[in-house]
């Protein structure tokens, strides 16, 4: 047996303590002369460099991966990539350390009693295929669900989609994008009539106003924020930041609206009110593009800044100032994040923000419009490919007969195989398991036992799942501990494919190193099992490129037409933005320049404020806001292994206002027990006036794998946006139960 398949052999090539050294690369950046550096393991000179993109957030920075002896030993920003021009962030730079960890899943196994029994791939694939087949036979295809990471490649989503919808005949294909951008996307669809982020990052250079709501860009999108700030340094554009916390992003603002948590709809309505009252609406243009201008004007007439002051926790003066800055901007970019999306009224928050975009005609020209920058690399691609319970490739819908017929033809399956019934989003999948309707759940590179709200409940559901298949690169994770079958999947650099970033730019990631041990590319795993279930013809792709070419056919004539794109073209010109309808088409930086919208006009949305589902009360008097830290990612399956990242976040720390701390007798650094109605967490106190009195902040990265009392989502609530079903991570009620000195 060669060294690669033994853990010792595998780890031998990776130094136990990665000493990273800066390596030089003189690049011009974007006009700013600067030495762009990357990192490499000391003493391991890369023998080859491979084109890639970062697997973390949805900005889509181009990277180059340095390889020696079939291992990733270096990483640097890709100098000429249009998104980042050689720059990377701390997470991207530390990709060097994620592959050779002790907890890499290297071979398939099966749970037998309390033990894990190692299986060969032959055994694992045929057993999983047999068990899934038996469940479909006994209970129908809707008793199966698949929940996949929002960081997968387009080719992978295409295969998962075809397997579930075109082969098994169920629409229960869901992704973790539900937890991140569902409200944002539903909001875009309700407003624009279709999902199509209209702007480009180069719009930063043309904006004279940035409105950033519920979004800590400095921590979540460092490279993009740096790019925004460089544009701003040149243009002196204004920056408004709306956030209950004085984050690093807020501290850069010309105007920081330190809003009461959850009150964004009231703020947006009040701003709209001022725009109308002070004649700052672009009436002619707005009437031309919107359907229901007068209805909105009437609706916001009663939301004056003075009335909005108490619910928003802001002064009328601040609201008026923000409205004037928006109304007077020539070109305004509107960026928002989880502060808007992760709410039981997320869709309301997003659509009322988009009202402001339309009222001031900030669309279809340089520097103007809304930007939907996702937290994961695959979150745009999976929407394009339709890897969601209600979609089919090319932004088609399972509920439309013509859409099913078009896709069935390309997939080579009988249209009757495709179900018209939209599948279940993840909240309903987990409830379906609890009720016994769903018997099998196949989780791919995701960790709902750490990231879904109400962790105790999630764990009880996963425990009782009849067949839980976990396909991942790591074990144990909070979720993989419950698996009946563990399947080792490859991760970034070990598999190749296509990604679409948040400005619709498409890049090809090369496979740079072989997967370790017996890990395999994820689409190979799914296709193998699917073929064993009888779908040999449907899942017989020779290569990722073959999958991509078939997927392209699904986009002909659609919003995301990429007939003009190919692997070869992506290699020559990374980052081209769809639609790219022909081979000589240069790509589309900006949408709606012709001011023709998917449904003719755009829609203004009329909503009112509503409190979070669980507001603070006498028993639980504090509002818990959960959010990210800049140097960790999601449930830390990768980033906890990197000492340089972990030392700034060794444990959950609770940010609490000094006044609240004093009331509870809490000192800096004291350990506290924080409880909600659903669970409790032990965390260290950090006193800071960056947070509003009455609110506290915990980083969501910690699951019970860090300790039974360390799972931040044990506190959060299963409350969801009414349309988008995205969880309300940004508001639930907690109290401090105990404080150690």
């Amino acid at each position: 047996m060669d060294e690669g398949t033994t853990r010792r052999g595998f780890l031998k090539g990776t130094s136990a303590s990665l000493a990273l050294v800066l390596i030089g690369c003189e690049c011009s950046g974007d006009g700013t002369p600067q030495t762009m550096r990357g990192v490499a393991i000391e003493g391991r000179e890369p023998s080859s460099w491979h084109a890639s993109a970062c697997p973390y957030c949805g900005v889509g920075c181009g990277l180059e991966v340095g390889v020696a002896d079939d291992q990733v030993v270096g990483v640097r920003g890709m100098p000429e990539h249009p998104v980042n021009r050689g720059r990377i962030c701390l997470l991207g730079q530390n990709l060097v350390g994620i592959h050779g960890t002790e907890d890499r899943l290297l071979y398939p196994s099966k749970r037998v009693g309390d033990r894990l029994e190692r299986l060969s791939w032959e055994q694992a694939s045929s057993e999983v295929a047999q068990r899934l087949g038996a469940i479909v036979e006994a209970h129908g295809p809707d008793s199966i669900a698949m929940y996949v990471s929002a960081s997968e490649y387009i080719e992978e989503y295409y295969v998962y989609n075809k397997f579930m919808k075109g082969c098994l005949g169920t629409n229960n294909l869901e992704s973790s994008a539900r937890l991140c951008w569902a409200s944002g996307v539903v909001g875009l669809v309700k407003a624009f009539g279709a999902d199509s982020p209209p702007c480009a990052y180069e719009d930063f250079d043309h904006a004279d106003l940035f409105f950033v709501a519920g979004y800590n860009l400095a921590a979540s999108k460092p490279v993009l924020f740096r790019r925004l700030m460089e544009s701003r340094a040149r243009s002196r554009a204004a920056l408004i930041v709306v956030d209950p916390r004085k984050t690093e992003t807020a501290s850069r603002a010309d105007l920081h609206l330190q809003i009461r948590p959850g009150a964004d709809v009231a703020l947006h309505n009040a701003i709209a009110h001022v725009l109308f009252a002070e004649g700052l609406v672009k009436e002619t243009e707005a009437r031309a593009i919107t359907e229901n201008y007068d209805a909105l004007a009437a609706h916001v007439a009663r939301f004056s800044p003075a009335e909005a002051a108490s619910v928003t926790g802001l002064s009328a003066e601040e609201i008026v100032r923000a409205a004037r800055m928006i109304g007077e901007a020539d070109a305004g970019l509107f960026l928002w994040g989880q502060g808007l999306n992760q709410s039981s009224i997320g869709t309301r928050k997003v659509t009322t923000l988009l009202n402001l975009v339309f009222l001031t005609d900030q669309i279809g020209r340089p520097g103007a419009g809304p930007m939907a920058i996702t937290g994961q690399t695959g979150a745009m691609g999976l929407r394009e490919v339709g890897a969601l319970p209600h979609l089919l490739p090319g932004f088609r819908k399972v509920s439309e007969e013509e859409d099913r017929q078009q896709i069935a033809e390309i997939w080579g399956v009988d249209p009757s195989r495709l179900s018209a019934q939209p599948g279940k989003p993840i909240p309903a999948i987990l409830e379906g398991i609890e009720r016994g309707e769903i018997k099998a759940l196949w989780v791919i590179h995701s960790n709902p036992a750490a990231t879904f709200p109400d962790s105790h409940w999630v764990r009880s559901v996963l425990e009782r799942t009849e067949l839980l298949i976990v396909q991942d690169a790591y074990h144990p994770t909070e979720t993989s501990r419950y698996a009946d079958y563990l399947l080792p999947g490859a991760q970034w650099a070990e598999k190749g494919g296509t990604l679409t970033n948040s400005e619709r730019g498409m890049s090809l990631i090369e496979q740079a190193v072989p997967p370790p041990g017996e890990a395999r590319a994820d689409l190979e795993i799914v296709m193998d099992i699917g073929r064993r279930m009888g779908f040999e013809r449907e899942l017989a792709y020779e290569s990722g490129e073959a999958i991509f070419e078939e997927y392209k056919r699904c986009t002909a004539g659609r919003v995301n037409d990429i007939q003009g794109l190919s692997y070869a073209r992506m290699q020559r010109e990374p980052g081209l933005q769809w639609p790219i309808p022909s081979a000589d088409h240069p790509g589309t930086p900006r949408r709606f320049v012709d001011r023709r919208f998917p449904k003719g006009k755009v829609r203004l949305n009329l909503y009112e404020h509503q409190e979070p589902v669980e507001p603070p009360d006498d028993d639980y008097p504090l509002v818990l806001i959960t959010g990210l830290l800049g140097m960790q990612y999601h449930s830390r399956t990768r980033t906890r292994h990197i000492p340089a990242l972990a030392r700034a976040a060794p444990e959950p720390r609770l940010t609490i206002h000094p006044e609240d701390a004093a009331r509870h007798g809490v000192r800096e650094g004291a350990y506290l027990r924080i409880a909600s109605r659903r669970g409790s967490v032990r965390a260290r106190a950090v006193l800071s006036d960056e947070i509003r009195e009455g609110a506290v902040f915990l980083p969501y990265h910690f699951g019970y794998g860090a300790g039974e009392d360390q799972a931040v989502n044990a506190l959060t609530i299963r409350a969801f946006d009414e349309s988008a079903k995205q969880p309300e991570y940004k508001a639930c009620a907690v109290r401090i139960e105990a404080a150690e000195a």
């Binding site: 990273l20 030495t35 920003g77 400095a218 501290s251």
Partner: protein
Amino acid sequence: MPGFFDRRGLLRPPGAADEAELLSTCIKCARCVEVCPFQAIRLGPITAWRSYGTPFIDPIASPCRLCMRCPEICPTGALIPVAAEAAAMGTARLDRDRCYSYNGIVCNQCHRECPLREAAIVLDELLQPVVIEQACVGCGVCAHVCPSEPRSIEIKPRGRR
């Protein structure tokens, strides 16, 4: 580890009296060591010569978080209660040639974690960190969290030049 020939001086806990006063006042009782919730305070070994048994902080291992429990518990006045902004432990020094944010890797952990963020460390308009020496108290959190190896930001203790 501090040594006899160490010319930089020890990073003392917050509120420390000046060196001469501290060395004559500290009774090496270690209460400051015990009370620190971050286990940041250590006692000088024999190689620290006159500082043997007196408290110091190694921020790479565990920085001070300015909670101020140690001056409150010091029985002799070797450590005197002061406001966090007056802790006067030392000053952070940033090496721009090594600092990631000045070299194409957008980092800013020091700014994010600084207990006196926006006073002691600020970001310039290109999001590059700048230490404001008058406001920096030298707690060492920045040196602890800095991800580069060796660190790009270090604490110069207030002691000898």
